[in-house]
Subunit: 194 residues, 2 copies
Amino acid sequence: MENQNKGSIGGVEGGKEVTMVGKLKSKGACDLLLRLLALVLTLSATIVLGVDKQTKIVQLKIAPSLPPLDVPATAKWHYLSACVFFVVSNAIACAYAALSVLLSVANRGGKKGLGMLFVILDTLMVALLFSSIGATGSIGVMGYQGNSHVQWNKVCNVFGKFCNQVAASLVLSFLGSIAFMLLVMVATLRLHQK
Amino acid sequence: MENQNKGSIGGVEGGKEVTMVGKLKSKGACDLLLRLLALVLTLSATIVLGVDKQTKIVQLKIAPSLPPLDVPATAKWHYLSACVFFVVSNAIACAYAALSVLLSVANRGGKKGLGMLFVILDTLMVALLFSSIGATGSIGVMGYQGNSHVQWNKVCNVFGKFCNQVAASLVLSFLGSIAFMLLVMVATLRLHQK
C-alpha cells in the first residue's frame, strides 16, 4: 500500500516534470521564433532604408527674366542624421538578434544567467530601436507635413517614393522592436515559472 | 548527535531565510527608490517642456525700399508635434510611476503576479519614453544645425533659450527612462532569485 502510494506520487511528480520540460521547450521555441522574427524585421528595415535614394528633376528659377532650369535633385538616406541613426540602430539590433539566436540554440538547457543577460540586452534593444523609430518618425512627419512656425517646408510632395520607403522601413523596425519587447516579457514569464 | 546536526541544519536554513528576506527587502527598497526617481524625473521633464515659451523681436523685410519691421515671434512647445508627443509621453510615464509607487507600497510582500505586470508596463514605458526622446531629440538637432539638403534652416540661433530648455527636458526624460530600464532589470533579478 505504501509502495503503491509512493509509486503514484512518483508518477505524479514525473508527470509534473514532463509538463514542466514541455512548457520550457515550448517557451524556448517561442523565444527562438521571436528572435528570428526580430532578426528578419530589423535586417529588412536596415536594407529598405539603406538602399533608399530618389533622383528627381526640379525646376529652378535663377532670375525672373530667364526661363526655369531643370536641375536633378537627389534624396539619400545619409543626408539626414536621424536616418543614419535609424540604419545604425537597426544594424546593431539585427547583429545582436543573430548572435542571440546562435547562443539560444547552443544553450538549449536554458541557463538562468544567460536568460538574465538576454533580458538586459533585449531591453537595451527596445530602447535603441524605439529611440531611432521616434527620431526618423518625427523627421518623416515633418517631411510629409512641414511646419509653418519654423518655416520648414514639406519635401515628401517632391520625393514621394523616398518618403514611402522611409515609412515602410519604420513599420518593419516597429514590428521588430515589438518582437524584442515580447522577448523581454517571455523571458520574465520563463524566469517567473522556473 | 543527530539532534545537533538537525539543529545546525535548521540554523543554517533559518539564516538563509533571514538573508533571503533581507535581500528581498533591500531589492524592494531599491525598486521603490527607482520608481520615485522615475516619477520625479518624468514630472520635471513634463514641466520643463510644458512651460517652454520664448518671444523674440525679429526684423522682417517686406520690401527692399522700406526699412525692416520689428515683429514679435513666439516659440511654443505645442507648435511642434514631436514636443506634444514628448510632453504627453512623459505625463503618462509620470502618472504610471505614481500609481506603481502606491501599488508597490501597498504590496510590500512582493506578489509575483504584480511583479510580472510591473515588468511588462515598465518595458512599455521604456519604449514610450525612448521613442518620444528620439522624436524630440531629432527635431532639436535639426533646430540647432539645420539641413541644407531639405532646406530647413536652424532656428536655435534665434530661440536659444527655448532650445536649451528642450535640451534640459530631454536630459531629465532620458534619466527617467534609464530608471525605468533599471526597474525592468531589478524586477527580473528579483524573479530570478526567488
